[in-house]
């Protein structure tokens, strides 16, 4: 079995703060991480490898720095890693990103599962996975929280606000992972040493390596554009409840909530 896992490098939103005066993100010193849902997808691919045998290939589209998460994927146990990088890909929306990733997946070829995270924490769109599936004409199951492998067929559980649904699907298939799927492993010391020792273990695909229509990628090939971005007007004033004791503060709070008919 051959599994291709799509990974995105994202800023750790737990540590991103907003400069309220300038309305800009404070990115200084904010670490970049492997997108959490993508890490669940990678873990599941590695679990399938451990239990049934599989070749796991991690891919990421992004700038050179995205190599970091591919090294991490190798250290966790991925067999191969590919960075898809080119100026021509810059400014891509989900359509253009899925177009490039689909072309890279085609080039790698002979896959049984394409695995993505449900969504990335910097954009929250959850669109790239289903768009890749459509471009590659693959069946898809999103919001996956459990997988059982039976030869060339999978029993996949989809976890939603309405309950859990078990689907049966033959490979090849595209799946998107949610955090309920598993708890990602840590890289082993040996894995780290091998992954970081070899400078050349992350392959590179550029525009010239891919069979991709230049009118469908990058900023110009993106159907959606950002018209403007802005900081929402803060319409509430925070009021700190003062008092000499917890009891006094609690009483004041309940009085205020009572005026608002909240208690």
């Amino acid at each position: 079995m051959r599994i291709i896992v799509c990974l995105k490098q994202v800023p750790n939103t737990n540590e991103v703060r907003i400069n309220q005066e300038t309305g800009t993100l404070i990115r200084d010193g904010v670490p970049s991480i492997m997108n959490p849902d993508d890490k669940n997808a990678l873990e599941e691919a590695l679990r399938i490898k451990d239990e049934h045998g599989a070749e796991v290939i991690a891919i990421s589209m992004g700038p050179q720095q995205a190599k970091d998460i591919l090294k991490e994927a190798l250290a966790m146990g991925a067999d191969d890693a590919v960075l898809i990088t080119d100026r021509a890909f810059g400014g891509s929306d989900t359509w253009a990103t899925a177009t490039v990733l689909a072309a890279a997946i085609e080039k790698i070829g002979d896959y049984d599962i394409v695995f993505c995270g449900r969504q990335a924490i910097d954009g929250d769109t959850a669109q790239v996975g289903p768009e890749i599936a459509e471009f590659l004409d693959l069946p898809q199951v999103t919001y996956v929280n459990d997988i059982k492998v039976k030869n060339n067929s999978l029993n996949v559980s989809r976890f939603t606000e309405y309950g859990e649904y078990i689907f049966s699907v033959d490979t090849p298939v595209l799946l998107t992972a949610i955090k309920e799927l598993n708890i990602p492993r840590y890289p082993t010391i040996k894995g780290i040493l091998t992954a970081y020792d070899d400078e050349e273990n992350v392959k590179i695909f550029t525009f010239n390596d891919l069979d991709v229509d230049p009118t469908q990628i990058g900023l110009k090939g993106s159907p959606t554009n950002v018209y403007k971005s802005f900081v929402p007007v803060k319409d509430k004033q925070s009021e700190m409840i003062e008092g000499t004791s917890s009891k006094e503060k609690a009483k004041t709070l309940i009085m205020k909530l009572s005026e608002l008919h909240l208690v």
Partner: protein, 346 residues
């Protein structure tokens, strides 16, 4: 494989009408459908076009009839026995073919797990852009294009997205944000049944079974009051206190990611970007610093109360009322005050 392309200089003026893709849960109309009709009607008025609703299923005429009471111009109901249960490919194909044939200018879909599954697939099949999880939609007065606004980074930044060269302009819209259409005394508009051409071979993903979990699901989405605990609780037993406050306020228990990651509470309680998004009347954050990823899931609450030891915690920037103090003193005092107040009112 032949795939669709965008930016092919299509004739934008040949696209008309605003469409809402309705959603049914177990044969009943999902509330987000009525919210989309309310919003869609506003947009249709602004561009002087018609509002049409699409419902998909097996034997859905009765439901389609009901939708005529919400002031829509037309309901297309797509019927096929293979559409009985939700199926990504069958639903995508049936809806995409109708979009290609009828050419709507705007298509709105609820940002539910179903809408977010088929939305991007439909956009990719039709050949257009899609904006996810919109919280505000407007028509540009200058040229009539759809301005799709969505929150980023926990609502601290907003981005307005456009889809200038492709049609339809497609958005998924967050449930619970738009105002529902009013139920009218008499029906209006017309109905048209569509029988999509589908075969078993179109359903590569097959439903085996639906599992309804025996224990009560945590219903954070519909809760009027949510009381959440975070790292400041310091240990799992702190959630007993959170539960007591939730009981006193008739609310549900939520948590930050830190508390889930520490193993103090199940992930189904997690509020935030990678958890559940809540919009209660009252949100009480106890021992939660308020990282952006948490704010993303709760900043739209009507009233926010924050209790934290650290006076500089970011949660105090977005709260209505803040109390600096040890939550193990403050929460019992609040519970006592609620009981005293209730006692006085009896």
């Amino acid at each position: 494989m032949e795939r669709t392309k965008v930016n092919t200089q299509i004739d934008l003026s040949s696209y008309k009408d605003v469409w809402v893709i309705g959603e049914l849960i177990e044969g009943k109309i999902h509330p987000v459908t009525l919210e989309l009709i309310g919003e869609g009607k506003k947009l249709a008025n602004d561009i002087q076009k018609k509002l049409k609703v699409v419902v998909v299923g097996d034997q859905v005429k009765e439901v389609a009839d009901k939708l005529l009471y919400y002031g829509v111009d037309k309901v297309y109901y797509l019927e096929h026995e293979l559409l009985k249960d939700f199926n990504t490919e069958a639903y995508t194909r049936a809806i995409s073919n109708l979009i290609k044939e009828k050419k709507p200018e705007i298509v709105l879909i609820g940002a539910t797990s179903i809408g977010r599954d088929i939305g991007p697939r439909i956009a990719a099949q039709v050949g257009t852009g899609l904006t996810a999880d919109c919280t505000k939609l407007d028509i540009d007065e200058k040229d009539g294009k759809l301005l799709q606004t969505r929150p980023a980074f926990g609502g601290n930044l907003m981005a307005t997205i456009i889809c200038p060269k492709n049609r339809p302009q497609m958005s998924t819209v967050r449930p619970g944000v738009m105002s529902k259409a009013q139920h009218l005394a008499s029906p209006s508009g017309e109905m048209e049944v569509i029988k999509p051409d589908l075969s078993e071979a179109d359903l590569r993903v097959k439903l085996v079974e639906k599992i309804s979990s025996g224990k009560k699901r945590v219903n954070l989405i519909d809760a009027k009051v949510v009381v959440s605990g975070g790292r400041g609780l310091k240990e799992a037993s702190g959630f007993e206190l959170i539960q007591q406050l939730a009981n006193a306020l008739n609310g549900e228990v939520g948590s930050s990611r830190a508390a889930v990651d520490s193993g103090w509470i199940e992930s189904s309680h997690q509020v935030g970007q990678t958890g559940t998004t809540v919009r209660p009347d009252l949100y009480v954050a106890c021992g939660i610093s308020g990282a952006i990823q948490h704010q993303a899931g709760m900043h739209e609450s009507k009233y926010i109360i924050a209790i934290n030891k650290n006076p500089h915690a970011p949660i105090f920037e977005i709260c209505d009322y803040g109390i600096v103090g040890d939550l193990y003193e403050v929460i019992p005092a609040i519970i006592e005050s609620i009981h005293e107040k209730n006692f006085l009112e009896i």
